[in-house]
Amino acid sequence: MPAVNRRRRRRLAAFKTVVYVVLGLFFLLPIAAMVEFATRGVGLTSPRTLAAFTSIGSDPELVDAITASLELAVITSVGMLALLLPTMIWIRLRVPRMVRPLELVCLTPLTIPAIVLVVGFAPLYNWIEINVSDSILMLAFAYLILVLPYCYRALDAGLSAVDIRTLSEAARSLGASWGTVMWRIIVPNMSSAVSNACLLCVAVVLGEFTVANLLNFENLQVAISILGTGNARDSIALAVLSLVFVFFFLLLLSFLGRALSRRRGGAARA
């Protein structure tokens, strides 16, 4: 038996090495090629240059687009927390039979393609443009819908791990208001889920193209795309930066989540 196991394990290790190398190449080559492309000089023989990266900061239109995307990411995250989290907690505590319908509503945007939603958003945005504002930040209304499924899942995982009924009854019996129960009792107990949801929000918003493009707003992705029609190198440089940024963000998320759960585990043991 051990001999069989050892042979099997060796075969598995060889198989895994092949898989990692081949797919690693497939996934990393385009990213490496982007870096290579973005650092090209003007002529074929001219030396490598970071001009494409440094020129990003000096293009006001680009800076506007980047700022708008970052602002949208923050607004969407805050809006999502303010809208979704209290509703989820409230429904779990007070109207448990509505948990499934709420889930259904929150997951709906996954089943309606963004390109379809945008056709329906258009009349709404016509109205908003005339009656409220034509600022790009208005996109946050649409983005809040786009991030719903991801954030719902993240928050749902967090809420399921906490016994919110006991916590809230204990807090209420000690005289805490509903606000206190939510923001000072339940949220601190699910901080990793909240940060997960926010980071997912940021990732989705920074990568969003469809809605902004069709509604004629220039966010980060639209700017990359517009830039690409004239100057491939600069737009690829910008794409590299945004990719690296989001990658470290999500890597941070994975480590943060682990650190938080370990700390909680340690506290429970102590």
Partner: protein, 289 residues
């Protein structure tokens, strides 16, 4: 004395707590969906079926067929390769650096697709791409029969780039649900690797695999950004047709035609989602999520 009053009050406050969310999703989720459905059936002179009739035009039919083909091929390649990668990761240490790295990478690559991805492939195998130039220097022509990157073929290749990571994310829980005891039981009963996969792991994982395939299909079917950045004009696939009809300034009719196209997409995605829900129920029987 105070009971009935409190009872009535409780009903109203109960709904009050959920009201902001319900109103918001009503305005920004339900209303746009209704507007699409209504738009598909309205014309300049009231209700009409003309927009839907336009869907039978050859170029629209071919856009739908292209979309279905693109989604089926990229979902199949993505599902198979992604399942292999997920298997390699799932058999490793559950808390190891490889798993965390692959998971994080897959999270980014499956989410961040779109425009960036199109440019990544232009930088790699575009006419001035890294690989094309490198091969040229070694006397090899990458495109002996013409450049196919800016076509449906190129789009299919690029789509697999985000389908594979998505498959890893979706399929990993199913693989995690496979218990080593099942393999040991097969061994004890005298079965080898083949019979384990043929009679135990295969049948158990099939519903989850098919479900994941449907999810990948829907994902490719709905994708727009990559195609828009790569092919900017023309309506090779349905999402591009929609954006063309949508941005055209010919008249109001075009907006209604865009709605009809959108409705067509919704119908297809709805069918896929229904099948997916069924498969999920089947796979949940053996592999608790």
């Amino acid at each position: 004395m105070r009971r009935p009053l409190r009872g009535r009050l409780r009903i109203s406050t109960t709904w009050l707590g959920a009201a902001p969310f319900l109103v918001y999703s009503g305005v920004f989720l339900a209303l746009p969906t209704v507007l699409v459905a209504v738009g598909a059936f309205s014309g300049p002179h009231g209700p009409t079926l003309a927009n839907l009739a336009q869907l039978s035009q050859p170029y629209v039919v071919s856009a739908f067929l292209n979309s279905l083909l693109l989604s089926a091929v990229s979902a199949s390649v993505g599902a198979v390769v992604g399942a292999v990668l997920a298997y390699a990761v799932a058999t490793g240490s559950p808390d190891g650096i490889i798993r965390r790295l692959v998971t994080a990478l897959c999270g980014v690559l499956s989410q961040f697709g779109g425009v960036t991805l199109a440019f990544a492939f232009i930088a790699t195998i575009g006419t001035e791409g890294f690989i094309v130039i490198w091969l040229q220097q070694h006397g090899i022509t990458f495109y002996p029969n013409g450049v196919w990157l800016y076509s449906l073929t190129g789009l299919t290749l690029i789509y697999t780039y985000f389908e594979i990571p998505l498959m890893v994310i979706v399929f990993m829980p199913a693989l995690d649900g496979v218990r080593p005891q099942w393999r040991e039981a097969t061994d004890t009963l005298g079965g080898g690797t083949w019979s384990y996969w043929r009679h135990v792991a295969g049948p158990l994982l099939t519903p989850a695999f098919l479900g994941a395939w449907l999810l990948l299909f829907a994902n490719a079917f709905s994708a727009y950004a990559t195609a828009a950045a790569l092919l900017d004009i023309g309506g090779v696939i349905v999402p591009l047709q929609i954006s063309r009809a949508f941005s055209s300034e010919v008249g109001l009719n075009q907006a209604n035609f865009a709605a009809a196209l959108a409705l067509g997409m919704v119908v297809i995605v709805a069918i896929i989602t229904t099948l997916y829900a069924r498969l999920q129920r089947r796979s949940a029987r053996w592999l608790p999520r």
